[in-house]
C-alpha cells in the first residue's frame, strides 16, 4: 500500500518491470476468484429472493390445508407420503450397507460396493423414472409407490455414505470394551455401535430426504396424472405431489397457476433449506462429539 504514492527509503524494493507485471497478474487472479464466488452467491440470492417474494403472496392457511383450486394440501400430503415410503425402504437398506462396509467387508468387497454406490448416486434421475415405469407402471397403473421406489434409489447411496462416515467415527475403545466383556459381534453392533452413531445416521437420512423431496423426473413418469382436489395417502394409487404439480403449472402458462407454483416452490425450498442446513449443523456437531 505504502509503496506507490509516498516516496520512501525502500524505493529500490518497489516492484517494477517484470515483478510488477507478475503481481498485477496475481492481483487480477485474486479478483477474478472472488468475483466467481460473489457471482455464485448472487445467483443463489436472486433465486431465493424471487421464490420468497413471489411465493409469499400465495401462502395462507387455506393454501396449505385445502385442495385445488384454493390450495395445495393434497400435493403436500402426497409428497410427504411418497418421501416417507421411500425413506422406509432406503434407510434400513442404507444403514445395513454402511454396516457391511464398516464391520464386515474386506478391501476386496468394499471397493466394488463403494463403486456401486457412486454409480447409483450418479444415475440421472430420469433414468430411474424410466426404470420404475418399466418395472411397476407399464401395463399396470401409475402409483405413488413407483415414485417412492425411484426416490429410494436416489436416497440409498446418500444414506449409506453418510452412515458409513459416522460409523467409522465410533471410537474403537467402545468396541474393544464390548469385546473385552465377551459380547458377541452382533450384540455389540446392535447395542453399542449403532446407538452411538444413531444421531449421525438420522441426520444423513434427513439430508437424503431433502435431496429426494424435490426430485421431479422420476415422478412425472411414475405418477403424472392425479386428482388435485382430494387428499389421499394410499401409495398404491396415483398420488398428488408437489414437484409434478409445479412442473405442470409452469408448463400451462397461466398467471394464476404461476402464483400457485411460486407458493408451492417456496414451501418446498423452505423445507429443503431448513432440513439441509439443520442436518448439516447437527452432523457437524455429532461428528465433533464422536471424534473428540
Amino acid at each position: 500500500m505504502s509503496a506507490g504514492a509516498v516516496p520512501d527509503p525502500a524505493a529500490p524494493l518497489t516492484p517494477s518491470g517484470n515483478l510488477r507485471r507478475r503481481q498485477l497478474v496475481s492481483r487480477g487472479a485474486e479478483i477474478a476468484a472472488t468475483a466467481a464466488a460473489v457471482a455464485a452467491i448472487a445467483v443463489l440470492a436472486i433465486v431465493i429472493y424471487t421464490v420468497v417474494s413471489r411465493g409469499a403472496k400465495a401462502i395462507d392457511l387455506d393454501f396449505i390445508f385445502t385442495g385445488y383450486p384454493t390450495g395445495v394440501g393434497p400435493m403436500l400430503l402426497g409428497t410427504i407420503v411418497i418421501a416417507l415410503v421411500a425413506t422406509l425402504m432406503a434407510m434400513p437398506l442404507g444403514v445395513l450397507i454402511a454396516l457391511f462396509l464398516t464391520e464386515y467387508a474386506g478391501s476386496r468387497a468394499a471397493a466394488p460396493l463403494r463403486l456401486t454406490l457412486d454409480l447409483l448416486n450418479g444415475l440421472p434421475s430420469i433414468i430411474l423414472g424410466l426404470f420404475v415405469f418399466a418395472l411397476l407402471v407399464n401395463h399396470k397403473k401409475q402409483s405413488g409407490f413407483a415414485g417412492a421406489v425411484a426416490l429410494a434409489i436416489i436416497e440409498l447411496p446418500l444414506i449409506a455414505r453418510g452412515s458409513q462416515e459416522v460409523l467409522l467415527l465410533v471410537p474403537a475403545a467402545l468396541r474393544e470394551a464390548s469385546d473385552a466383556l465377551g459380547v458377541a459381534r452382533w450384540r455389540s453392533v446392535l447395542t453399542v455401535v449403532l446407538p452411538t452413531a444413531l444421531g449421525g445416521i438420522v441426520t444423513a437420512t434427513v439430508l437424503a430426504v431433502a435431496r429426494a423431496a424435490g426430485e421431479t423426473a422420476p415422478l412425472i413418469l411414475a405418477t403424472p396424472t392425479f386428482d388435485p382436489k382430494t387428499f389421499s395417502v394410499n401409495p398404491f394409487e396415483a398420488l398428488p405431489n408437489v414437484p409434478v404439480w409445479i412442473y405442470k403449472l409452469s408448463e400451462e402458462g397461466n398467471p394464476e397457476g404461476f402464483t400457485e407454483a411460486w407458493g408451492l416452490s417456496l414451501l418446498l425450498i423452505a423445507f429443503i433449506l431448513f432440513a439441509s442446513l439443520g442436518a448439516r449443523a447437527l452432523l457437524a456437531r455429532s461428528k465433533r462429539k464422536l471424534s473428540s
Binding site: A37, L120, G122, L123, L130, I153, G214, L273
Partner: protein
C-alpha cells in the same frame, strides 16, 4: 491388564460360564447380521443391473426397428413412426459442453477462493451457501429460468451478444421467447458449479502447505503458487470433478425441458430452441402415443445411461488411478 475380566463382570466366577444356549444364539446372531448386511449390499449391486436391464428391455422394440443408425439419424417424427436421436444428441453435447466450459473455470475459481483467499470466518459461510445452490430442486430452478432468466436473456443478453459477436454463427438469430439452448446451458451452468466447486475445494485443501510455502519462499506470487503448485498437484482430481459435473449436466431432464424450447432441428445458433436426451424423455414420455414412440424414448434412455455411466466410471478411475494423495511428494 489381566486377561480375566473383573469379578463383577463374571459374577459367580468359574461356575457362570457363557451358557451353550447363549453361545448358539450368538453364533446364529452373528451369521444373521452378516447375512442381512451382505444381502443389502447385494441389493444395491442388483439394483444397478436391474435398472440397466429394464431400460434396455424397454428399448428393445426400437433397437430392433432402427438398429444403431438411431443414434445418428436426425429425423424425429412420432406421427410417422420415424425416430432418430441425432438432434437430441447434438443438443446434449452443446448444452453440456457450454455448461462445463463456463461453469468449470468459475467453479475452480470458487474452490481456490475458498481455500486460499477467503478469511476463515467467511469460508464457513460461503462454502455451505455454494453447496446450497445444489440443493435447489431442478423443477424450481427451471421454473425460475422460465419466468425470470429467459425474459432477461431474451431482452438483454441475447441481443447484446448477437449485436457484438453476431458474426460468429453460434450467436446467430434469436428465438422470440427466450427459450433456447443458450438459456438451458446457463441453467446447467448454475447446476454444475456447486458440484465442481465443492470437490475442487476439498482437493485444494489437501495440497500440503509446505509445497505452497516453498514456492512462496522462492518468490512466487499467489497466482504463481496456484499455477505452479496447487493446480498441477490436483489436476487429475479436478478433471474427475469436471466429469462428475458433466454427468449432472447430461442427465438433467426437468429444468432443461422447461427452458430449452423443445426444438427438433440441429441449428448452429445457441439462441434457437433445441432438446437434449433427458429433456426429450421428460417432455414426450407422459404423452407418448405408440409403443414404438415409448421404446424410442427408452432408447434415448439407453444412450443417456451409457454416456452417464461412462463419464462417472472415468471420473472414478481418474480419481483412484491418479489420486492426488499419490501425486504429492511424501
Amino acid at each position: 491388564m489381566s486377561t480375566f475380566a473383573s469379578p463383577a463382570a463374571r459374577a459367580g466366577g468359574r461356575g457362570a460360564r457363557v451358557s451353550p444356549l447363549r453361545k448358539r444364539a450368538d453364533r446364529i446372531g452373528d451369521r444373521a447380521l452378516f447375512g442381512i448386511c451382505a444381502l443389502a449390499a447385494l441389493t444395491a449391486a442388483a439394483t444397478i443391473v436391474l435398472v440397466g436391464y429394464q431400460i434396455v428391455d424397454g428399448a428393445s422394440p426400437a433397437i430392433s426397428e432402427f438398429g444403431f443408425s438411431f443414434v445418428y439419424e436426425t429425423t424425429w417424427q412420432p406421427n410417422f413412426g420415424v425416430f432418430g436421436a441425432g438432434s437430441v444428441l447434438f443438443g446434449t453435447a452443446v448444452t453440456s459442453a457450454f455448461a462445463l466450459l463456463l461453469g468449470g473455470p468459475i467453479a475452480i475459481a470458487i474452490g481456490l477462493f475458498l481455500t486460499l483467499l477467503a478469511p476463515s470466518g467467511l469460508r464457513g459461510i460461503i462454502g455451505p451457501l455454494v453447496e446450497l445452490l445444489a440443493a435447489i430442486p431442478s423443477v424450481i430452478l427451471g421454473f425460475w429460468g422460465l419466468l425470470v432468466l429467459a425474459p432477461f436473456v431474451q431482452s438483454k443478453l441475447e441481443p447484446f451478444l448477437h449485436s457484438t459477436l453476431g458474426f460468429i454463427p453460434i450467436f446467430g438469430a434469436q428465438e422470440t421467447t427466450g427459450l433456447s439452448v443458450f438459456t438451458a446451458s446457463l441453467i446447467l451452468t448454475i447446476m454444475v458449479i456447486p458440484i465442481i466447486a465443492s470437490i475442487s475445494r476439498d482437493l485444494f485443501q489437501s495440497v500440503p502447505p509446505e509445497l505452497q510455502d516453498g514456492a512462496s519462499a522462492l518468490g512466487a506470487t499467489r497466482w504463481e503458487v496456484v499455477r505452479g503448485v496447487v493446480l498441477p498437484t490436483t489436476a487429475s482430481g479436478v478433471v474427475a470433478a469436471c466429469l462428475l459435473g458433466l454427468g449432472r449436466a447430461l442427465g438433467e431432464a426437468i429444468a432443461v425441458s422447461q427452458v430449452i424450447g423443445a426444438g427438433s432441428e440441429i441449428q448452429a445458433s445457441l439462441f434457437r430452441s433445441g432438446d437434449t436426451l433427458a429433456s426429450r424423455i421428460a417432455l414426450q414420455f407422459p404423452g407418448a402415443l405408440t409403443e414404438l414412440h415409448k421404446a424410442s424414448l427408452f432408447y434415448l434412455g439407453v444412450m443417456l445411461l451409457v454416456i452417464g455411466l461412462a463419464s462417472n466410471l472415468i471420473a472414478q478411475w481418474i480419481g483412484r488411478r491418479f489420486s492426488y494423495g499419490g501425486a504429492v511428494a511424501k
